[in-house]
């Protein structure tokens, strides 16, 4: 199967995921050229080592302009395209992005049943850039290709055969079957199995039964469905353009169009932001002081055999479901029968909903629901590897719970509190194992929200933190490490954001308008709708816990709560809600609230002051940024990227802006700092800029750069 053989095998081998980096593409191109120059070779089989075909291009390569002599996937694919020999892709494992584009350039594609195929570029704000947008429509039709690339998710080999991406599911071992097939085609091609099947020679159709004249309509409808370019839709709209080009242009011109669109996107702000998010996620578990030598991956395997939850309220049942749906049996302890009944209903309702949606089989739903055991006997927690406490937010109550747990839980068990306002150290003190106590701060609903804050107490051991990251991975959450400070990362920052929202509303800018400005920025909801969702009573409770109650300029929050306006759950808060409008979840502007703000402002002697949209946006976002800089300064957050992940996955910050800290860099830290100084002069000391921010601004640097801490040192 090497030199002199009719069939030559080229194995993609660039561990761990056979990334088609510039450096690796150079090797690959050389291998292809060797095959091409060997006149005995009549067919080439491309396969992958390391249990995967290829995960595609190396995202690191996009970071800067490629060197002029860089060999890219495009060059490799170009060589395959020009070849007169038969190319067969033998896929076993993931075949994504540039990997699939390479397979599309081959004449035949077979894959094992376990393989998954996809073009996920859209998730990085890009489009496939090595012919994928031109070849896939020619293979499976423009509409199916567009759908696949817009979603960016991968499909099973079975589905890929249905779509027409794969010629067949190849029985194992894939490589042997592919070699045998290649030999047959090379020796005796037939009308059904010709030597060459270049997609570039085909014309693209829209889809079965759709005439070509429908193209402009189909394209216009696709654009109509997508979010606006400036609100996260840039790459998606460009993708439609690229697929339209596949329908309208000869292949070579289509590829040139794709390349132009790709380059534009590679330099675009949304893509830079999304790539930042991609890398920030991979950094999360790298904790400098854990596992000894500098940075290392904290997610060592810590298998959780079983879990426990204390408290069967909303949070407790959500956490229990989160464990159960990841296959971990969980024991929920609560002595209140009503709460347990309600939790049982919640759990069953949730799994049945997934059955209705076709996401789970009845049997699987039943199995998962059975994995949650409710009891009032604390001793049943004895075997749990991790116990998450989700009882009432009261330090004394929690300390009692921990004292009790300490006596029951096995010595190796991790005790985690889901508190959002209390001091982890005070809770840990109640046990004899403070090194194994930490915070696991889930977000409501815990089984759906992807964010998990891991809170490190003063005595929490590195092993416990490593365990928590392992748990985060098992639960498929984005786990972020936070220091033990009030509100941790997410809620601490949101207080500043909400403070500015309130101040703007007290000045006579309506809640509906302020929310609208933030939605235009890309948040799914504005600050007031978010407050309504989490509950105004909860907001008041947090203010009380922090000792802030009564310190605001007005008492609007108190007034609303006293009126029974607790938010969405009571059908009225900062907005009103109507069961007939958006299932009771759509915020409807309520003049009553405007009047309450106006009245409170009058009593407090606050004059009306109109803020334009830019000011609203700046005050809310810069409040987040300034607080984020303080958290970095104080070591509560490890990295700006960690805070970005918290905001994107926990608070709906638009990913195409990269998170608040990335956004600061995008705007320019010096500019942000300048505005914060102006706000400080205009509105008061709550706007005092963080020293770190000042340092970075004065250096003309970025928060994302490694010199953030250095900036602090001479601040």
């Amino acid at each position: 199967m090497a030199e002199g053989d009719a069939v030559r095998v080229i194995t993609l081998d660039n561990p761990p995921v056979n990334a088609l980096s510039f450096a690796y593409c150079k090797e690959l191109l050389a291998a292809i050229e060797a095959a091409e120059s060997d006149s005995a070779t009549r067919a080439v089989v491309i396969a992958g080592a390391n249990g995967i075909f290829s995960a595609g291009a190396d995202v690191n390569d996009f970071a800067q302009e490629p060197p002029a002599d860089a060999i890219t996937v495009r060059d490799v694919i170009g060589a395959v395209e020009r070849s007169e020999k038969t190319y067969v892709a033998a896929i076993d494992g993931n075949c994504l992005g540039g990997g699939l584009e390479l397979a599309l350039a081959c004449d035949y594609r077979g894959a094992s049943g376990r393989s998954r195929l996809g073009l996920p570029e859209i998730r990085l704000g890009l489009i496939p850039g090595a012919g994928g947008t031109q070849r896939l429509p020619r293979l499976i039709g423009a509409r199916a290709a567009l759908e696949l690339m817009l979603k960016g998710s991968s499909v099973s080999a079975e589905r890929a055969v249905e779509l027409g991406i794969l010629d067949e599911i190849t029985p194992a071992p894939v490589l042997e079957a592919a070699v045998e097939f290649a030999r047959r085609v090379a020796d005796s091609p037939t009308a059904e199995t010709p030597r060459k099947r270049r997609l570039s020679a085909r014309e693209a159709e829209i889809g079965p039964g759709v005439p070509k004249i429908a193209l402009p309509y189909v394209a216009a409808q696709a654009h109509k469905m997508l979010p606006p370019e400036e609100r996260g839709g840039l790459a998606a709209h460009r993708l439609v353009d690229a697929v339209e080009a596949a329908m309208e242009l000869p292949f070579a011109l289509g590829v040139a169009r794709e390349a132009r669109l790709f380059e534009e996107l590679a330099r675009s702000k949304p893509s830079l932001a999304l790539r930042h998010v991609f890398f920030a996620e991979r950094e999360l578990a790298k904790i400098p002081d854990i596992a000894g030598t500098g940075r290392s991956d904290a997610t060592a395997r810590h298998d959780i055999v079983s879990a426990g939850v204390v408290g069967a309220g909303t949070m407790g049942s959500g956490i229990a479901i989160a464990f159960a749906q990841c296959g971990i049996p969980v024991t929920v302890v609560d002595s209140n029968d009503d709460a347990v009944d309600k939790a049982r209903q919640t759990v069953m309702g949730m799994f049945m909903y997934q059955v209705q949606k076709g996401k789970l089989t009845q049997e699987e739903a039943w199995r998962r629901a059975q994995a949650i055991v409710f009891t009032d006997d604390w001793r049943e927690l004895a075997a749990a590897d991790v116990i998450v406490e989700a009882v009432f937010e009261d330090l004394d109550v929690k300390r009692d719970v921990y004292a009790k747990l300490d006596g029951i839980a096995k010595p190796s068990a991790i005790l985690a509190t889901n508190t959002s306002t209390l001091d982890i150290d005070r809770i840990a003190e109640a046990t004899k194992r403070p090194q194994r106590v930490l915070g696991l701060h889930f977000f409501v609903p815990a089984n759906i929200m992807p964010l998990l804050e891991i809170v490190r107490g003063a005595q929490t051991s590195p092993e416990a933190i490593a365990f928590a990251f392992g748990a985060g991975k098992t639960l498929r959450k984005k786990a972020v490490l936070s220091g033990n400070a009030f509100g941790f990362i997410g809620n601490r920052m949101i207080l500043d954001y909400l403070r500015e929202a309130m101040a703007l509303a007290e000045d006579g800018n309506s809640a509906a308008r302020i929310d609208g400005v933030m939605r235009d920025f890309g948040f799914p909801m504005g600050p007031f709708a978010m407050s309504d969702l989490s509950g105004l009573d909860v907001g008041l409770h947090i203010a009380r816990a922090r000792g802030d109650e009564g310190k605001g300029r007005t008492d609007v929050l108190r007034r609303l709560v006293d009126m029974g306006r607790l938010g969405q759950k009571s059908m009225a808060g900062f907005f009103r809600y109507d069961k007939a409008v958006g299932k009771g979840r759509e915020a409807i502007a309520d003049p009553v609230v405007d009047e309450i703000f106006a009245d409170a402002a009058r009593s407090a002697g606050i004059p009306a002051r109109h803020a334009d949209d830019a000011e609203i946006r700046e005050r809310l976002l810069y409040a987040l940024i300034n607080r984020g800089a303080y958290l970095l300064e104080d070591g509560v957050a490890l990295r700006p990227g960690d805070m970005d992940i918290v905001y994107i996955y926990g608070y709906g910050f638009p990913p195409h802006h990269g998170g608040p800290m990335w956004y600061a860099d995008e705007v320019g830290v010096d500019k942000v700092y300048g505005r914060i100084r102006e706000f400080e002069a205009q509105f008061g000391p709550q706007w005092k800029p963080s020293a770190l921010l000042r340092g970075v601004a004065e250096d003309g640097g970025t928060l994302g750069a490694a010199d953030a801490r250095k900036a602090l040192s001479h601040a």
Partner: protein, 395 residues
Amino acid sequence: MREAVIVSVARTPIGRAFRGAFNQTPGATMAGHVVKAAIGRAGLDPGEVDDVVMGCGLPEGATGNNIGRTAALRAGCPVSVAGQTVSRFCASGLDAIASGARRIVADGANVVVAGGVESISMVQNDLHVRFLGEEWLLRHQPDLYTPMLYTADFVAKKYDVARERQDEYALQSQQRTSAAQVAGRFDAEIVPMPSWKRLEDPVSGAVSESQVQLGRDEGNRPDTTLEGLSKLKSAVPGVADASVTAGNSSQLSDGAGAVAIVEASFAATRNLQPLGVYRGYAVAGCEPGEMGIAPVLAVPKLLRQHGLTVADIGIWELNEAFAVQTVYCRDMLEIPNDRFNVDGGAISIGHPYGMSGARMTMHALLEGKRRGEQYAVVTMCVAGGIGAAALFEIA
């Protein structure tokens, strides 16, 4: 002031697209036929014609190559006669007549032949759409690319025009056309035309050609019943609950029509009997996604320009693109039903896009004259969200 008067009219009968008499008759053949007849009926010498202005909705392929010029030559005009194509989709034929009239009033021409032609059979399914989508427009005015059926469904839903009203209107159209055909009220317009029709055996798929001569419009269905209409399914692809059906929409058709327009004093010198005087034209725009309602905007503009009201107009032709927008416009404009599309329209006769404006103009003049009315208004909705309306004074 110079005045443009219409002195003769001529049109082909209207054929059903794809399966009808003109399913492989090129646009220039049909247009040449009617231009020649309009000139002949007015007793003019072809060499006297200054310009031939032809409207066409889809001016490409079988109706491409400047169909105004090819029609002039195909009609036997000498090469000295110029030609021009005018396109405003469905209002093209009406626009061509307005444009021809302006050539006389403003430019000093004495004789112009104007009209419209469409061969849906030979053009629509092979439409050139490569590069039709413009990136900015696809994003910001996507409904510019929306097929008309969807705009009709949108109008039905937005303005709440019930299926029953649409079907009742379609029935009225069919009945009126049927009665007019029996009474011969289209005969003065029509110049029968022989053609080679392509026949396809529905069972074997065998194709043959046979020569036919269509003498009258072939789209009318006199046996239409309300019950039959009500049983038809949605004609809007992918929208099962649409009230727009094949029965209450215009028919896809082929045909051509032309009128001879001359300056009023020229007509007097030559002793030509005017059928009507061109008085003016107005257009207005609306959202592309609800193009059907645009006559509601264009008609008041036209009437205002001439100091008239709806009550002053004796006969109305409002193009029946879809029953839904036809009844909506009629009722919004408060046009009396007995003066409105009195002998049916595109639903019952057919709708060769670029020709319809010319057909409606000639019918309004002839029928208006028979009824002794003073003013006629011809109005149409246009793809892309435009309404067009023309005013004629019946001589």
